[in-house]
Structures are given as C-alpha cells and as structure tokens.
Amino acid sequence: MEDTGEGFYEDDEPVEKIRATFDAGVKGVTGPRTSGQTQYLIIPDLVVDEFVLTTSDEVTRAARC
C-alpha cells in the first residue's frame, strides 16, 4: 500500500516544501546566513573633555552653517 503521508502533517504545514527539502538532501538547513549584531553604546549628554557628542546629522548641519 502506498504511503500517502496523510495524517502525518498538520493542515497548515508547507508539505510540498518540506518534501522538496528532504528530497534535495539539505536536511538541517535552518537559515540562509549566520548571526551578527551591531550595537552603539551612547550616553546622552555626556560631556567628555569639553566635547559634546553629536549625531552625524548635527555635524553635517553645523558644517553647512
């Protein structure tokens, strides 16, 4: 008797995609790329040696004046 897979998958599962991935032999692939994160630690209004940090936008505007 042919196994149709009926009842094995939930109704909302992308069955065709799962089967295609399995057939292509790429089991275990879970994402297209690695994980990377960039953060900026900014302390608002902190004055360092008479230098106040400004945003690049503020610097650009000041240069135009």
Binding site: S35, Q37, T38, Q39, V48, L53
Partner: protein, 142 residues
C-alpha cells in the same frame, strides 16, 4: 542535559560593524593602550556556536570592568550609567555547511569616548555560561 560550549574571541578595535553575510568589518584592531578620554572604540565578540545549539537564543553580555573586577560606571547628567550591553544571538544552519560544523555568530559593540581614570580595564564577555576578558590600559596624560 549537557550542552556543547560556545567558543569565543574578543577583539578591541576602533570601529566595527557586522554585515548581513555574517562578516565583521573592523578598523584599527589590535590595540591595548589608549589615552583618556578614550577615543571612540569597539569591542567585538566572535563566536562559534555548536551545531546542536543552532536556532537557540543565546544571551551575550559585555561589560567594562576595572582592574579590581568592578563594573565601570560613568556619571552622566541623567545619573550613573554602567558601561555594558546585552544581546541575543541565534545562529542558523546555512546551506552548504557540513553537518556538525560550528556556526558563526558575532556581536559588535561601539562605544563613545569615556572619561576613564588611568589604569587597567577589562572588557568581559559572558556567553552561554562561559566568560572571557580582553584588557587594555589607559595611560596617564603626558
């Protein structure tokens, strides 16, 4: 249940940005001596996530410590601010990678100039129950 450890490296540089391909672009890497106020700098954590921990959310934290191991706190107009940051990395298994291979993950923290007194400091990375430090020296003004 025993979990596989996360391997990590810490690198100090002047500026760092991660890109969507998973690379980290660094400028001015490898210093360990600076002046005060410190110039803008960055600390980068390069991690190797074990294959069996793919898709797990792994907490990463960075904190600046004094030579005595106390967290550095900077006084700002709005109150004391600890020099620290937290993130979550979640490594995936990209196509083409042999099963069992470690997965790349990175965290780059860029830090503004800080009024640090002369002395020795450590950036401490805490990830998946492990800890790693990278130190630098703030020299006296000449």
């Amino acid at each position: 249940m025993m979990v596989s450890p996360v391997l990590a490296k810490l690198i100090l540089c002047d500026h760092a940005v991660t890109d969507p391909a998973g690379k980290v672009h660094m400028l001015g890497a490898g210093w360990s001596l600076t002046s005060s106020p410190t110039p803008p700098h960055a600390v980068v954590a390069l991690m190797k996530i074990p294959w069996d921990r793919a898709d797990q959310k792994i907490e990463v934290s960075l904190a600046l410590l004094t030579a005595d191991g106390e967290e550095v706190v900077v006084q700002s107009p709005t109150g004391p601010v600890p020099i620290a940051a937290h993130a979550e990395v979640q490594a995936r298994r990209p196509p083409g990678l042999a099963p069992g291979s470690p997965l790349d993950a990175s965290f780059a923290l860029n830090v503004q100039p800080l009024p640090l007194p002369p002395g020795r400091y450590h950036w401490r990375l805490q990830v998946a129950g492990g800890m790693l430090t990278e130190s630098f020296e703030v020299r006296h003004a000449s």
